[in-house]
Amino acid sequence: MQKAWKVVFTVLMLAAFAVALAGCGDKAEEEKAEAPAVEQEQAEAPEAKTFKAGFVYVSPIGDAGYSYSHDLGRQYVDKMDGVETSFAENVAEGPDSERVIRNMARKGFDVIFATSFGFMDPMIKVASEYPDLKFMHCSGFKTADNASNYFGRMYQARYLTGLVAGSMTSSGQIGYVAAMQIPEVIRGINAFTLGVREANPDAQVRVVWTNTWYDPVLEKDAAISLLDAGCDVIAQHQDSPGPQEAAEERGAYSVGYNSDMTAFAPKAHLTAAIWNWGPFYKETVEQVRDGSWKGGESHWMGMEKDIVDIAPFGSMVPEDVRELVEAKKAELHQGNDFVFTGPIKDQAGEVVIAEGETPSDAELLGMKFFVEGVVGNID
């Protein structure tokens, strides 16, 4: 009899753990996104309706990284008159995100920004259920009548950071801690390498894949392995500042990504390729409010729209390098997107983009080869 009681007790205890866990997960999100909305529905009925914009992030905001850069954009929108914003962070791609997006839609958010690739299908699905609301998806390719997508030409900023890295290396070996083998990452490595080789034609960019978006331990280790192999500048694609920390400790230089990472590596940080979502988010909100917003569109914007930029130079970057980079930046700023204009050779030395030609957006979005000067491989 006593034994049976103990088994029951154990099972109950395990069940309590499970319930506690499930409770934790839901609470975090409800506190942020749902709690205030309920009260407002009753209070504000007669007055002019406040405009509500919702943001869904794949990772925690933290204080650096991809979601952090989107949240800076949200804060920019939040300062507008009559606009209220809300966000849900750390939302898993897939079914979880569909629930979060639908929750926002049910609360009557006028526009919802879903900022990760894996939110695409869930968002399109919810968009078909709420035809009156507007949806914006970042980094995907599907659209609907009330859903558009958007992304930035980050490769332009990476090219500029490559110019800086190529000018600052003395060993001619630059390390790149790479995330996943997808065209976005490959395009970034290629643009960076083109910049490096323009400043230093003999330099090489060594690539180590981590297959992670955020793993400070592994990403720092990968950077150290590149430094051991003779690299003296470290660039990265992941959200963690791990590689920056490695460069700082070894007295090497580093190039950040997503947002200004100077705080993590004050002596090493040359510059960073950064996102600047604020102006675009503001413009989108204004368009939705005055009715000029259009669905079914794809926006792929670069420096001409100030979506991407580079962080302020570290004090170690000399004046002539700054001038060179500023001149190229001014050109990109005028809308002259020359980064991948041929002739461009692949790793085998064969010309893949002929002289004077510029690849189409479709070709850029499907890029699957490394340019000459990259040491590493894709399979």
Binding site: K3, P60, A64, Q181, V207, P216, L218, P241
Partner: protein, 307 residues
């Protein structure tokens, strides 16, 4: 590969093998007492967070280390309560701890992602760190690594030369016989599980205080599972655990360096290596299954009350 690169590789081997070594010894102590704990992965991440939090708020890396150990000890206490007092299934309780640990760390740790602490920095041992070859490989790490050099000897001495260690071994082999000679099997199992949890907690603290100084969730990254497998690989012997831990640390460090030096081998293959090695090791130790490769006799079996 140049000579300097090999030295750097071996130094990185010690660096990444150390957390696995702490956890393996912790799990070994637990299993020596006859309790299987599959919660290592979860205990590691909770203690990594506890260590980080305490180091962040008090500014003391040593208090952080202690907090990591205590967090591991408390999680071990939960496992001991469920399995020793309530006679709960050891596998289920361990798995629940892994899930609980991952969830708790995610829940409590998310607001701190991206913050950093001072933690432990490399400490050059005088004279020793200037030795050619050996110096850069073994004596330019944080103090936790030096502790890990002594630990296997202490572990061996404790298990083989002290009354308490021998009593734990007896309880792990045959609790009824141990009880017959007047030992207290339940109390001894409690000790083995919580003390083992403390060691696992130190490995978590190493991850957040010495391995990286930046906080993020998911620091344990599968190392806890590797530790569970390594106990079998090591045939429950501390010195073989050192070999196993460095073997795994070495493979992890090697695959990154192979990529950095420019190779034609697919990176996916290299990233797979540590896990493929785990499977291989388990198959080999099962295949060479002689008497000496078997675990404690009562491993995984709860002590039923008499009558």
């Amino acid at each position: 590969m140049s000579f300097e690169l090999i030295i750097a590789l071996l130094a990185a081997t010690v660096h990444s093998g150390t957390p696995i070594l702490f956890a393996t010894l912790g799990e070994m102590l637990t299993e020596k007492g006859g309790v299987l704990n599959l919660g290592v992965e979860g205990m590691m991440s909770v203690s990594a967070f506890a260590a980080f939090m305490i180091c962040l708020t008090t500014g003391s890396a040593w208090l952080g280390l202690l907090a990591g150990g205590v967090a591991g000890l408390l999680m071990g206490g939960v496992h001991a309560f469920v399995t020793v007092n309530c006679l709960g299934n050891q596998v289920v309780s361990g798995l629940a701890l892994t899930i609980l640990g991952g969830g708790l760390t995610e829940f409590m740790g998310t607001p701190y992602i991206g913050t950093s602490t001072e933690g432990f920095r490399p400490l050059m041992l005088p004279l020793l760190s200037d030795l050619p070859v050996l110096g850069p490989i073994f004596f330019r790490h944080s103090i936790l690594v030096y502790i890990s050099y002594i630990l296997p000897f202490l572990f061996w001495f404790f298990m083989r030369r002290t009354r308490l260690g021998l009593a734990i071994t007896a309880v792990g082999e045959m609790p009824a016989a141990a009880a017959a000679v007047g030992l207290k099997p339940r109390r001894l199992r409690w000790f083995a599980v919580t003390a083992g949890g403390f060691l696992v907690g130190l490995s978590g603290a190493y991850l957040s205080l010495a391995y990286t100084h930046l906080w993020t969730t998911g620091l344990s990254g599968g190392r806890g599972w590797i530790a569970v497998a390594l106990v079998i690989f090591a045939f429950w012997r501390p010195f073989r655990a050192v070999v196993g831990a460095y073997l795994f640390g070495g493979v992890m460090a090697f695959q990154l360096r192979l990529q950095a030096s420019g190779t034609d081998i697919a990176p996916q293959f290299l990233l797979m290596l540590p896990y493929a090695l785990t499977v291989l090791v388990l198959v080999l130790s099962a295949w060479r299954g002689t008497r000496r490769s078997q675990g404690p006799g009562a491993l995984g079996v709860n002590i039923e009350p008499e009558g």
